[in-house]
């Protein structure tokens, strides 16, 4: 077990080195001050409130205005277990048997209106996130089920008391949406931050032109000496992907922080050569195959197992990664994380067997045993988004055809797609989506819990075995034991109970202008976007 963990850690480190090879070289350069970074954003956020929203469209333009208590290390964001202080002075060690975390805050930090930022503001922020009033929406309330209360014994100390020790707490705390708000504003109106921006981050809000632009300027009172390097930034909203690609090519923008498909990377590289830098990383997003457990034939575990056994993930990875933003074969936990399955472990799970012929033979046998009608055409419900939904959907239909299963793809716009999943439920199988920010497998897998616990599980099943394992795992302090539980959870979910299945993990490709320095790719398009350490070599 220990050697397995070491191997994983080594491979994660190697991945990080690869992803950051260029970044580290850049870090050795002396940052230049000045300039305005222009970047493109594919969508507009519904509001300015990070605690309420879930979209990257909020993080990209708004995160630079705010501070966090802790965050993934901006110099090493590829490492999913490297967290560092933003407002705190040092990462605390848990006390009281792993149930108490005490954070000391930097002194002299001010909000952009000049008022001091104290522990009371941090407490008010986390109280809003964890214990929101009845009429206030908090998208990440469930991340903090382990938290009993938050205290602010003095101006520079914040204490989180947990109900039980949890490895999920620190990653949850580092979520990039947890902007620190001013207590006075929250006292005045809990929803004040939906329409207003007032933070203590590296940039000060200048303007938002609806549908067009976010603008920020340097915070001269920022608490990190010398940062930010940029004079300001402009986040330009550009919904069409081809335009965002051309904007980088024509130097109307230096970067887009979400990610492009491989073809766009290749086109940009061909056009710009050395003027372009490409950073790539595994991505903490995955498409999930969700059979409908309420209707035949996929209410039968044998039929569901047949579905996953028919899919050649190892082979598909090679080809799909050339045309789509998917690549890595993995289980329920983010590949490369210490809690993720190794290749050898994956190969023990149905659908990951190295011999696809054997796997498909088993699939056919199960279909026959379950009495699945192969003359029927079943419905694969899919979302009308090209990358990677319809591409992966088309691939899956071909995979299932190999064992005699006929599917038609019903592609719908996002609204009707979710209506089908949540209300109509007239599908045989659907593609579904799990996309999280900070890599936190202990919580990220809650998507697979029974649907009376997880509101975003659309298979329609109740599986108490899986729920029990989840609870055990989240209340277990020892990582080796967590890992054991994770393997059992994975085996049950993907194989024995065949509740739903992982396709391929997404792969994040960020081609950007070579003059943009200091920014390092992370496994999430939500992470590392405060721009404090970004500079322009112009």
């Amino acid at each position: 077990m220990r050697s397995g963990l070491l191997k994983i850690a080594a491979s994660a480190a190697a991945g990080a080195v690869l992803a950051l090879g260029l970044g580290n070289a850049i870090a050795a350069e002396t940052p230049k001050r000045g300039g305005t970074l222009k970047f493109v954003i594919p969508a507009e956020p519904p509001s300015y409130d990070g605690h309420r929203e879930t979209t990257f469209a909020l993080v990209h333009p708004i995160a630079p205005f705010y501070s966090l208590l802790i965050r993934p290390n901006p110099d090493n964001p590829s490492d999913s277990s490297d967290f560092t202080c933003d407002l705190c002075t040092e990462m605390p060690k848990a006390t009281d048997g792993g149930k108490k975390y005490t954070f000391k805050l930097k002194s002299g930090v001010t909000f952009h209106d000049g008022s001091p930022l104290t522990a009371a503001d941090v407490k008010a922020t986390y109280d809003k996130i964890i214990f929101p009033p009845a009429d206030v929406s908090s998208a990440r309330k469930a991340y903090f089920v382990m938290v009993d209360n938050v205290e602010a014994p003095d101006d520079l100390t914040v204490v989180f008391n947990l109900k039980y020790p949890s490895g999920a707490f620190i990653p949850a705390l580092a979520t990039p949406f947890n902007f620190i708000y001013q207590k006075a504003k929250l006292d005045q109106d809990m929803k004040w931050y939906e329409k207003n921006i007032l933070g203590s981050g590296p940039f000060v809000f200048v303007e938002h032109q609806a549908g067009a632009l976010f603008k920020g300027k340097r915070n001269d009172n920022f608490y990190v000496e010398g940062q930010p390097y940029l004079d300001g930034f402009e986040g330009i909203i550009a919904e069409k992907q081809s335009l965002r690609v051309q904007a980088i090519r024509g130097d109307r923008a230096a970067i887009e922080f979400r990610g492009f498909p491989p073809k766009s990377r290749d086109d940009l590289k061909a056009a710009l050569g050395d003027d372009l830098t490409v950073q790539e990383s595994d991505w903490n997003c995955v498409l999930i195959i969700t059979p409908n457990h309420d209707v035949a034939p996929f209410n039968d575990v044998r039929a569901r197992r047949a579905l996953t056994l028919a899919v050649d993930r190892w082979g598909g990875s090679k080809y799909l990664s050339e045309i789509a933003i998917v690549k890595t074969v993995g289980g329920v936990a983010f590949p490369g994380h210490p809690l993720a399955a190794t290749k050898a472990e994956l190969e023990q799970i149905a659908g990951y067997w190295p011999d696809i012929a054997k796997s498909r033979a088993e699939s056919k046998k199960l279909l026959q045993e379950a009495g699945v009608d192969l003359s029927k055409t079943y419905v694969l419900n899919n979302r009308g988004v090209d990358q990677p939904y319809t591409i992966v959907g088309t691939w899956l239909i071909d995979q299932w055809k190999q064992v005699g299963l006929n599917f038609e793809q019903r592609v719908q716009p996002t609204g009707p797609f979710y209506d089908t999943l949540r209300s109509k439920r007239d599908f045989s199988v659907s593609l579904d989506f799990n996309c999280q920010s900070v890599v936190n497998p202990l919580l990220d897998i809650s998507k697979f819990l029974s649907n009376d616990i997880s509101d975003s599980q659309y298979g329609g099943y109740i599986d108490r075995d899986v729920d029990d394992l989840f609870n055990k795992m989240n209340q277990e302090g020892d990582q080796a034991k967590q890992r054991e539980y994770m393997r059992q959870f994975e085996k049950l979910t993907l194989d024995e109970h065949a509740n739903n299945f992982i396709t391929l993990w997404w792969y994040r490709i960020i081609p950007h202008r070579a003059y943009l320095k200091g920014w390092n790719i992370s496994p999430s398009h939500y992470v590392n976007n405060d721009l404090a350490n970004v500079w322009l070599d112009q």
């Binding site: 929406s137 335009l243 609204g415 998507k447």
Partner: protein, 323 residues
Amino acid sequence: MYTYLVKRLLMVIPTLFGAAVLVFFLMRLIPGDICELKLAGSGAFFDQRSLDICRAELGLDDSALLQFGQWVGGWFVGDLGTSMWTGKPIGEEIALRFQVSLQIALMATLFSIVLSIPMGVLSAVYRNTWIDYVVRSLSIAGIAMPSFWLGILIILGILLTTQAWTGSPWMPPIHYVPIWVNPAENLAMLIWPALATGYRYSAVATRMTRSAMLDVLREDYVRTARSKGVMERVIVNRHALKNAMLPVITVIGIEFAFLMGGLVVTEQVFNLNGIGKLFVGAVGQSDYTMVQALVMLVAFIFVMTNLLVDLLYAWLDPRIRYS
């Protein structure tokens, strides 16, 4: 004339009310709602509690009739409501985009008029000559080619040409600056979409001008003028063209109204923050209130443009009298 005008203006009310009923109830037939989109669309977790709060905040729990009543009631106090997606006043959201769409529509219309009328006249006057063939080919190409596709070609063409000539690719600005703030930047951005849409627009108007001119040139009064020895240029410019303008103005008017809300894809291609882009975004986000307001705005523009065109008829042809 004034009675006619008042009658026409009064007709606006039932027309807009009909459009309001249609758009309000049709939007609610689309499966799914904005709260599901907001909360589930990003793939992150969400709970039923957040969904319930969102629906209550937006009034989606209220009956459709109550929502309709509140919306229509708002018109009488000048309240268009707030966008369900951004929570901002709709009037504010539309005003931002309106100037972009208006400028594009005006530029494209100007380009179209400058191009289409001389070409249509030449084509008619020199019927079945090489001039006519060239004009007809250009206009058929303009009709056949979608303006957004032409837009993509224009952007690619600019990028490739500038890279070949200067070594580094240049593309038009992707963020709108008002013309009174920076005219050069403004025109550098808007000239291309105006050309792309104006070309298609001019193709329609050219064909209409040609066909109307051909009809007029066969009229008895033109023959009479010719027999009296009036110069051909005078016949064409003074007698034929003015009379041929009635259908052309109708086409130009309808196209102008269309441009104000219908440049959906072209606006995305050039990243124009206009009404069309707002429209398609609002439909995609199930932002009922915004879609309703935009449909009403476009319907109002169409009604008013039609009225203006009718009034222009009387100016062009004094025989036309409204009563």
